[in-house]
Amino acid sequence: MADSRTLYREILLDHGKAPRNHAPLPEVTHAATADNPVCGDRILVELTVENEHVREARFTIKGCLIATASASLMTEAVSGHPVAHVERLCGEVEASCDGTSAPDLAALGALSALAAVRDYPARRRCATLPWAALREALGQEQV
């Protein structure tokens, strides 16, 4: 039997209902939006990148609890880290959500809760949506 609590764990409920960094960023150097055509959800990720480091990350979302929690956890996880590290993290999170590789739960820390979407194929895109926007933002020229 499936128990929705395996997906909606406490940490995701917390970040989904009371997201951190859910506000416009005053000084934006990089930004991108991502859409989920299945539901019409949309996220805007805004970054301040200085000296090859993500100084600050914030987001604005019209989305579900999973996407919101993922974005909240993401902005906490990437702030202050080198861009190269953040790009690597994008790949690791996306792979753990898609089920293409066994997640290194210890290395992912709080983000490991997102890997539960592996068992919910219809919701994988919800969890990876913020990361797709982050990846695109980092790939852009400075705005």
Partner: protein, 422 residues
């Protein structure tokens, strides 16, 4: 405002007219399965219905025995396949109330049927300054083809607004008809909300100002009797897969005189009388609009689905669904934090709703974990959701095989979602 209505609905169900739901369910193998350990409660019928055994049998039997191309083979199997395919056309004509089977064009479904009319009729009959009227509750399939047509021919799209309860502003529609409307495209029943539009009245009003009317029957055809002769609409569309039939097949009804004046849409085999080096003579409708090998088995199985529907009694199905709709509306409406979206009196068996503070996707996931299948999201009607100021809804939609027990499980699962996520 109360929406005028012109669709006859049956009154209370007499016991002898009730469906034997157990017998009905036995005909649907897909319903006999567990989802996440729970018996499947399939409440996503506005997306697609399941298919009864007679339909599945027809598909297999066609490939086992009669498989051949249509309208070309001089051999026995070719004759059989052609006869069955053309019989299916007659069956669809009868179902929709068309006078002549030649007024039925097989398409991949409603989407293709509407695109056919937009491209073939629209591009040759509309001019700059003309207006096309649609409603704010249209599925993208009955919106985007017209938007593109407007861009192509320089016409203007007018969108009739809706009330807070999801009913059409018929007064606004009447006002729009005072412009330069050339074509009106309206949902018979809105897929996202279930609202039934007064299409007979709207057609009368449109004809009075010389506009041609297309009615999108994708949702309505399974849930309310259709009679194109009584509606007097110029075009009507439906999809077999929402009518207990296969995917990949649907029908466009068009009045014979209109079809005769329309150029081909797609070019290819089976739609020409003769081809020489410079000239082509096109076949008459409906062949003119069926280029290439059609989905033959699916068309024949579409007719089986209509036979199945008729044997069961379309009016009995409608009455059963009305009872389910009434129960779901009352039971869901009683759940704290649930807001029903689309509450007009004239509705087919669709309940759209939101749970306070919860996103439709999250609710749908918790419901799926309980074995309850619903749609969650924008319902392919993003402009409608914008008009309602909603990111989306959860939609439960019913069919002949659904039960009150399944609706009670839906309601319990919604309560659970509130407890878990609220």
């Amino acid at each position: 405002m109360t929406t005028p209505h012109d669709t006859a609905f049956p009154g209370p169900v007499k016991p002898e007219h009730r469906l034997d739901i157990r017998a009905v369910r036995r005909q649907f193998p897909a319903l006999r399965q567990l989802v996440h350990g729970h018996p499947l409660a399939y409440l996503d019928n506005a997306a697609t219905t399941h298919k009864p055994m007679p339909v599945l049998d027809t598909l297999v039997r066609h490939y086992e025995r009669d498989n051949a191309n249509v309208h070309r083979g001089l051999h026995t199997l070719g004759v059989r396949a052609t006869e069955a395919y053309e019989h299916a056309r007659t069956r669809v004509a009868q179902f929709l109330g068309a006078r002549d089977a030649g007024e039925i064009i097989f398409t991949r479904g409603t989407t293709e049927a509407i695109n056919l009319v937009a491209q073939s009729y629209g591009r040759t009959h509309l001019q700059p300054g003309d207006e096309i009227i649609v409603t704010a509750m249209e599925h993208h399939a009955n919106l985007l083809p017209w938007r593109r047509l407007c861009t192509e021919v320089g016409a203007t799209l007018r969108v009739v607004p809706i009330d807070d309860d999801g009913g059409l502003r018929v007064d606004e529609y009447a006002r729009f008809l005072g412009g330069t409307p050339r074509l009106v495209a309206i949902a018979h029943a809105a897929n996202a909300l279930g609202t039934v539009n007064p299409v007979a009245k709207m057609t009368r009003l449109a004809h009075a100002v010389g506009a041609v009317v297309l009615v999108d029957g994708a949702l309505a055809a399974a849930h309310t009797p259709v009679d194109v002769a009584a509606l007097d609409c110029d075009f009507y569309t439906c999809s077999a897969h929402k009518l207990y039939g296969p995917t990949g097949i649907g029908a466009l009804y068009g009045k014979a005189a209109l079809l005769a004046a329309m150029p081909p849409w797609q070019m290819g085999g089976d739609m020409v009388l003769s081809v020489d080096d410079t000239a082509v003579r096109y076949a008459e409708p409906p062949q003119r609009f069926e280029a290439g090998t059609p989905p033959i088995a699916d068309a024949i199985a579409f007719a089986s689905a209509l036979d199945w529907l008729a044997d069961l009694g379309h009016d009995r199905i409608v009455a059963h669904e009305r009872a389910l709709l009434a129960h779901a509306t009352e039971a869901l409406g009683a759940v704290e934090g649930v807001r029903l979206v689309g509450t007009t009196r004239e509705k087919v068996a669709v309940v759209s709703f939101n749970v306070e503070g919860l996103h439709a996707h999250d609710v749908a996931t918790v419901l799926d974990d309980a074995g309850v299948a619903v749609r969650g999201g924008d319902q392919c009607a993003q402009p409608l959701m914008h008009a309602l100021g909603l990111p989306g809804t959860v939609r439960a939609s019913f069919a002949a095989y659904n039960t009150v027990d399944e609706i009670d499980r839906l309601v319990d699962a919604v309560r659970h979602a509130r407890t878990l996520l609220g």
